[in-house]
Amino acid sequence: MNCKQFRESLDCYVDGELAAAASAAVDAHRQACPTCNRAVAQVLEMRNAVRQAVRATTPPPDLEARVKVGTTPRWLASIGVARRRGLSRPAVALAALVLGLFVVAAERPPVRVDAANAMDRLGLRLNDSTAVVLEGTVLCRDCELERRYGVKSSCKQIGHHGAIFTDDGRILNLVEQRASARLIHDETLFGKRVIVHGRLFRGARALVIDSYQLEG
């Protein structure tokens, strides 16, 4: 091995990425050539200096807690909150038990396919649209879901999507039509109060808009 070949494999050698035979050849050259031997030391020093500089930084003390909250199911987190708010252990246990009973009660056997289809058809008939006039606030649906429930929205990439938020807490989607286009896509309307006339499809929580008036 000559010095040029040595230089080409220097980084791989220092990082332990060379095969045994190649590594032995580098070792042999190092013994014979003091300049190349010093180069190894220089790379090692460089590596240590990078390591030292970067490892000197430590995460903020509360970051781990924040990451944990992000990876905790909401119901489990609420128990933690209840504990922190001073609820006693038996009270939390009782609440968990009641919740557990609800979950068990909700675990019904699955519905057969034909029965499910029949229920769907009945549901569709019951969900026939109704003419409505209702008042609410225009807000971006996905951003609101993110704010309230931590759902990850893609609004920054694909744009906002307006929906009607009624005062009783419902979120009604707007069916894309010419009459509704501005309410869905015009961000400047977000936060404004609006009265809409249209038809409500309850099952789909969707509004087909005939007309609307903005307030204020």
């Binding site: 980084d11 990078v50 500089a53 970067v54 490892r55 995460p59 990451v67 990876t71």
Partner: protein, 180 residues
Amino acid sequence: MRARTRFQTLALPHLAAIYRLARQMAGPDRADDLTQETFLRAWTYFGQFDPQTNCRAWLCRILHNTWISQWRKTRLELPVADIDDARTEPWYDWERERTDGDLSTDMQWALGELPEAYRWAVLLADVEELTYQEIAATMECPIGTVMSRISRGRRQLARLLRERRGAERPPSIRMVARER
């Protein structure tokens, strides 16, 4: 519940490592957000993690992807192929003796000047001590590219440090084209 416990024992101990990497790549102001987003994604895809493999390398890969999709685009940078390599000498000319005093501040600066592809490669190799194979998987590039990025990255670091500490002036070419 069991998955959550496994996540907390396998992934969470790497929080400090992911944070310092995020800090080098996205800056101190946005490192928190990038770290949180990385762990949130890791948790979402934790079912796909193979416990036989290196969890830190897996997290680094998620960090890299998150950074590519959300953080990188706020900054314009020349692709590494366009950078004039003639300025990067083929040899390390850097010695510890010349660099007395606190090197960490200058090193932080030099890392910040390094093109992002080189910075990733150097950090993953030198700080996180991943194998070239793992770095190639993290950066989604061939192993030969990893080798050249590490080697060029280290040499450029040496040059940047030498210029800063020797001549006390910033290098004549800046790698970052401009801030948006």
